[in-house]
């Protein structure tokens, strides 16, 4: 066992990378759930985003174009969910599960000819002086732009939900769609927009895996991150900063346990592998012991005739 082989600076830098897909998917789903919709299709939208982004990046040679395509791909798939649940008034749980299964199958089909290809590398942020600083440089100034975008998005969503009128209306729709409708707000429009946003975020998260974290395409490569994002939203009590904390905690422990495995710590690998799930849930359960609760209309179907 050689713990000195673990470099704390690299560890922190890589945990941020490991956490970003989860963070992007979770912040999108958080907005969706705040609007009162439970979309269990995060995993499906992520994997479709992963392949859309990968394919476009490979074909065009531009990773940024790839990310844009990933967001679009995720949003298009979520539109299917929006049609089913908001217009056909289908059950949200069943539709979400179907979306995940559909997304997994569709992505495998789309990705057949992309297995084993390397995508174009995403440029890292490189600020002279700042990026070369010891310790701080690699942690704060040495990442790709999407990672910063993820953190910015959390701040943006937080501020929007807390301070803006549109955020207030979104929360109101999620809290009681009948009351919001009685006051004249367009419940369905707001929900569809939220679902599209959630889809775009999930798509971005998926592409982050296929273009940056594991730069290649394999079938089912999101490997359950979408499900963890869903759990994260609940355990974060629908609060953006807590979602960030949870994502970083999860990413951190994932990276740490991999390092520990490599260092040959005398703990069975199975325990190390389950540790990120256990610890993240434990911490967030303790945090969520306050009186915050789920949006009142979460998962309920809205029909305007009442």
């Amino acid at each position: 066992m050689d713990l000195s082989a673990i470099n704390p600076v690299l560890l922190i830098a890589s945990l941020m990378v490991a956490a970003t897909p989860l963070l992007l998917a979770a912040i999108g789903e958080l907005v969706v759930e705040k609007a009162g919709v439970l979309n269990l299709g995060v995993e499906g939208m992520m994997i479709v985003g992963a392949i859309s982004g990968f394919a476009i990046a490979v074909e065009s040679g531009s990773p940024m174009l790839g990310f844009a395509a990933a967001a679009l791909g995720g949003a298009v798939l979520s539109l299917l969910f929006a049609l089913l649940t908001q217009f056909a008034l289908a059950n949200q749980v069943a539709s979400g599960l179907a979306l995940t299964l559909f997304g997994l199958g569709l992505s495998a089909l789309m990705g057949q000819s992309y297995v084993g290809i390397k995508p174009p590398a995403t440029a890292q942020l490189n600020i002279p002086v700042l990026s070369d600083l010891p310790v701080v440089g690699p942690i704060l100034f040495g990442h790709d732009p999407v990672l910063y975008f993820g953190i910015l998005l959390v701040a943006l969503v937080w501020a929007l939900l807390k301070f803006s009128r549109i955020g207030l209306i979104l929360r109101a729709v999620g809290e009681s769609h009948d009351a919001a409708h009685a006051l004249g707000y367009k419940v369905v429009t707001i929900r569809v927009l939220a679902i599209l946003f959630g889809g775009a975020c999930a798509g971005l998260g998926g592409a982050y895996i296929s273009l940056i974290r594991v730069p290649q395409w394999t079938e089912g490569m999101t490997a359950g991150v979408g499900w963890i994002a869903l759990a994260l939203v609940v355990f974060a009590s629908w609060k953006p900063w807590r979602a960030l904390l949870g994502a970083y905690l999860f990413g951190g422990i994932t990276v740490l346990q991999l390092n520990l495995q490599a260092a040959g710590v005398a703990i069975p690998v199975e325990y190390l592998a389950m540790s990120p799930y256990l610890i993240t849930i434990l911490v967030l359960v303790i945090l969520s012991a306050d009186k915050s609760r789920a949006p009142g209309s979460l998962g309920k179907t809205f029909h305007a005739s009442q």
């Binding site: 009128r165 209306i169 109101a172 919001a180 009685a182 006051l183 004249g184 009186k291 949006p295 009142g296």
Partner: protein, 505 residues
């Protein structure tokens, strides 16, 4: 007279199968309190929804101060000075007062200014409110204040109020009326929907009566008796429940010193309850909703079990028994929430009859259901209580509130209970059905059953009960004979006005 504020001309709105409003026409004058009267299903709600822009009329016109008025959505109606206080509050529990108010405004000022405005307006009209409190924690009366203040901040020309007093104590009602009087004196018109006729007689200048979607009459409430108005609403002469002189028998149910902790964060704890009902007695329990009514019912029905000795039936301890064991002994209950508590919404009437009737009517033997007997039990209820439904195979959800309530009450009464506990027997039920239910309760008592009737309708309690007690924050006042009890005394028993004060200006 000067030009009316709002003129409705031939408004018609049909839904598949029903004509909710059929060529409805009337006028609301400036500074007038106009009452809209009618039974449930008479089309009052549809009509005000059209004025508020939530529903589009099929035909007919509205004019606001002579100009054509066709609000496409509530926003447009609000912009034209129409404000509405909803029957079922349109509030968001998880948001605070200021956020709730902001959601009802077109261009709300920044939160801090809005909070200041809320304080000012609420104090001017004697409805004190803290803008930063979470609405979920407020009492029903306070929640209504939020709605009213949301309307007042928009400086409305016409304020629509849909059954505003159903959740208030008498003192709170009085304060509300003073607020409305003040608004009227400032020139605001009010469209006041209610079926509480005495209130309308005190408050309103003019009344329009709807029946089955049509205007069937108009009157000046001050010059019309409540009975005349009720008969216009119903369309037939009304039968007042008859109260035969009864002899009260032995003490049947006895509760002494019962305390139960609150079942949830939003529930009420019951504190040191004492209660006694005799055979043939109706004990009325009043009080504003949320003061322990639901908890009291669940303790009596056996949904919540307590110490064995805390509740006794003819001296026999029953506190630990569950609902079915109590039913077996003759203690039956009919909860307030019809859909979801008293009846399973998506199950048929037959199935619902089985759910509480199985024990006493022997509808299930060794785990197998006797469907033939169950169906005939359901049919018996339908026939005896005039439940209007195509048959016992229909889902409970498909019945109107009044019909389902008759079914639920009938189901318990036909099981010949020794003790019947009933919460809100006529809530949301039209006048004719309500009279029938009250009569059935009186008849049951005359046969020697002890009845505990929990209700927020004081007139109802005064009409049928022998003794009256009030629940206030989980405490039960001592029971007093209803004969000669005044409204003021009742109000005090109910805990007064919960910190409300009279308008200052």
């Amino acid at each position: 007279m000067s030009q009316p504020l709002l003129t409705l001309d031939g408004l018609t709105k049909a839904y598949p199968g029903v004509v909710a409003n059929d060529t409805v026409s009337f006028e609301i004058a400036e500074g007038e309190v106009h009452a809209l009267l009618g039974e449930n299903g008479a089309g009052k709600s549809t009509l005000v929804k059209m004025i508020y822009g939530l529903v589009k009329p099929d035909s007919g016109q509205m004019h606001l101060r002579g100009a054509p008025f066709q609000p496409a959505e509530p926003r447009a109606a609000r912009a034209d000075g129409i404000a509405m206080v909803f029957q079922h509050f349109s509030l968001f529990d998880a948001l605070n007062v200021a956020e709730n108010v902001a959601l009802g405004m077109e261009t709300p000022p920044p939160m801090r200014d809005l909070a200041h405005q809320i304080r000012t307006v609420s104090e001017t009209y004697g409805l004190p409110l803290d803008p930063y409190r979470t609405v979920g924690d407020l009492s029903a009366g306070e929640r209504q204040r939020v709605e009213i203040i949301r309307c007042l901040l928009q400086d409305p020309k016409l304020l629509i109020m849909d059954e505003p007093t159903s959740v208030l104590t008498p003192q709170e009602v009085e304060i509300l009326f003073q607020t409305l009087e003040k608004l009227r004196s400032e020139g605001t018109s009010i469209l006041y929907i209610s079926h509480k006729l005495e209130e309308i007689r005190t408050l309103c200048d003019h009344a329009t009566i709807l029946r089955l979607g049509k205007v069937v009459g108009e009157c000046v409430p001050r010059d019309t008796t409540a009975r005349e108005m009720a008969e216009m609403m119903v369309g037939t002469a009304l039968k007042t429940p008859e109260r035969a002189g009864r002899d009260l028998g032995e003490v049947t149910l006895d509760i002494s010193g019962l305390s139960v902790p609150a079942p949830s964060d939003f529930g009420t704890a019951l504190k040191n309850l004492h209660l006694r009902v005799r055979a043939g007695e109706i004990l009325g329990i009043g009080g504003v909703a949320g003061n322990g009514q639901d908890e009291l019912l669940s303790v009596l029905s056996g949904e919540v079990t307590v110490e064995a000795d805390a509740i006794t039936l003819r001296g026999q301890p029953i506190g630990r028994l569950g609902p079915n064991a109590r039913r077996d002994l003759g203690v039956l209950a009919a909860p307030e929430e019809r859909l979801g508590h008293a009846a399973a919404p998506d199950m048929s009437l037959t199935e619902n009859a089985l759910l509480t009737g199985a024990v006493r009517r022997g509808l299930a033997k060794s785990g197998l259901i006797n469907w033939a007997a169950t169906r005939s039990f359901a049919q018996e209820i339908i026939a005896a209580f005039d439940v209007r439904t195509p048959g016992p195979g229909n889902a409970a959800r498909s019945l109107s509130g009044g019909n389902l309530q008759k079914f639920v009450v009938g189901r318990e009464i036909l099981q010949e209970p020794d003790v019947l506990v009933i919460n809100q027997p006529t809530w949301g039920v039209d006048a004719a059905a309500a009279a029938a239910i009250r009569q059935a309760l009186l008849d049951l008592a005359a046969q020697g059953a002890a009845i505990i009737c929990i209700s927020q309708d004081l007139d109802e309690l005064m009409e049928i009960s022998d003794h009256f007690a009030a629940l206030n924050e989980g405490r039960l006042s001592s029971a007093r004979p209803t004969d000669g009890l005044s409204v003021d005394e009742i109000g005090l028993m109910m805990g007064g006005a919960h910190g409300m004060e009279v308008a200052h200006v």
